[in-house]
């Protein structure tokens, strides 16, 4: 019930069999999983952070752009860009969940079983 089994060096059982994790970590399947997974999350993180920064910098330093009214309405370019931040957040979240369900989960599950068999 305590977390002592999580402590480094705290549990001799894990120290005695470090190879179960290390073997899997070195396996081509794990390397491939890590590459696909990191490729996706790092790219998406760069995209959403960059796009958020663009929005903030425009709102901050380009009032001429964001205050522009669209058509004959009271909607401004800034408001639309802000609403697009909502849209992009929903889209990226959905894309990631789909990607992970489809391309990551089965491989991760197989690797997990491989580790737990050898623990």
């Amino acid at each position: 019930m305590s977390a002592t089994d999580d402590s480094p060096g705290g549990s001799s059982a894990l120290d005695a069999t470090p190879s179960a994790y290390q073997e899997v970590q070195r396996s081509p399947e794990f390397v491939s999983l890590r590459r696909r997974w990191r490729g996706f999350i790092f790219t998406m993180s760069a995209v959403f952070l960059g796009w958020f920064l663009v929005y903030v910098l425009l709102s901050d330093f380009a009032h001429g752009v964001v205050d522009t009214r669209i058509g004959g309405t009271n909607f401004t370019v800034g408001l639309v860009l802000g609403l697009l931040q909502f849209v992009s957040t929903f889209v990226i979240a959905t894309l990631y969940v789909r990607f992970a369900n489809k391309n990551l989960d089965d491989d991760a599950e197989a690797l997990k079983r491989r580790v737990e068999e050898n623990l």
């Binding site: 019930m1 977390a3 480094p8 890590r34 709102s59 901050d60 205050d67 991760a108």
Partner: protein
Amino acid sequence: MSTQIGSPALNIGIFALFVVVTLLIVYRVSRASNTASDYYAAGSSFTGPQNGIAISGDYLSAASFLGIAGAIAVNGYDGFLYSIGFLVAWLTALLLVAELLRNVGRFTMGDVLSFRMRQRPVRAAAAVSTLLVSFFYLLAQMAGAGGLISLLLGVKNTPGTPFDGQSLVIAVVGILMVIYVLYGGMRGTTWVQIIKAGLLVVGAAVMTVWVLGLYGFNLSGLLGSAVENTGKQLLDAGNQYGRTLTTKLDFLSLALALVLGTAGLPHILMRFYTVPTAKEARRSVQWAIWIIGIFYLFTLVIGYGAAALLPRGTLTSANVNDAAPLLAFQIGGTLLLGIIAAIAFATILAVVAGLTITAAASFAHDIYANVMKEGNPEPGMEVKVARRTALVVGIVAIVGGILANGQNIAFLVALAFAVAASANLPTLLYSLFWKRFNTTGALFSIYGGLAICILLIIFSPVVSGGPTSIFGEATDFSIFPLQNPGLVSIPLSFLLGIVGTYIGSREPVNEAKFSEMEVRSMTGAGASAAVDH
């Protein structure tokens, strides 16, 4: 804030109904939660959607609901940044943190940070940071309760008398929260969050549809009316932050703290342990993103609606947090105000309960069980310590809330986000993704981030030298120009993590432990087995 509107008896009645219903539920769901796993993480028995709703309940605090609606009503477009930052931030949590944290840790942020480091110093640092962030957040919620009370319950604060009606209500909120946490543990607290999130979203939806209906569902018409009614250019950028380069940098600083803070908030991180697997953690965030996003779209309408419909001059910088309840009264009269008021109280109560269990878990699990007892506490003692800690946190929250009553709420919340983004997020990301990161690096980024944040805040215009400062305009020791420290403290904390890692590089990298962490974080191996202890 001086005018009292609506019917206090009705407001109290609806709120009391919420309290009775949630207490009954807490009573029904709470088993003898005497194992740590049950008390801190509800036995990891919630589903992704349930946890997603509970996360929304935890995240949509009084600052989100009352604060953002008010910021938009008074500052228009600039207030919109809060909702965008608070929402986009969830992608950091979804992509980089949630699943890994779920797979590696069990109860606290310290579980993950200390996984491959020297246990005692890193756990102590993680707990210090958790307690500080939770404390600032807690104070903001309690202080918010005080302001709301004077408007809604007709209980006025007489200056100079600490034990008046408002203090009494703050104390009642504190005591209720302690009861939830003591008896309900994480399971009870989670159900309180779920009920509260449902009420909050439905309440905001009703107001949104109502306001839009008054304008024939013509959003453009509503926006135009907001400008016309207030005589302010609420659709243009820069009302609050546009005047000087300093305020523009402040806008940037706030944006950075918001977008990077969420994934470092301990009470949010802890919620990922209430689900059984990383996949469910992923579903939790997916649900939370949709609920939180839709809610913030509602606050946009509510904020501009308050600007368009409240008589000119009703809202000032002094009562900006009252925009949503005042609007409810304006459109729906006493009954709608009573409902929105009760929801706002429920919000404060639920968020405070979530913060308390986080602080209690961090103290009992990180400090007591792992630092003081070196990972071998007597059976059952850890949860006992957690319950006692919750009691202490409750008392601190009541006293702090009474003292902080009337303080600037946004400042306290922004401070919590800045500290979370500076001290917690860099340390989390480095330990998950950077193999060479070591104990010294972790201590540098946590303590360095904390120290920089707090120093910059102390010497900022928030504390002294400005018209809205804590010490007023007369006392001026502000040498740092920005209200929010994020722009400086976040990059510096990331840098400190690197510097510390190189300074401590004689400490060998624990290869085996790093392999274990990386494989566990991505596959969930070993995590399920550990839960059965």
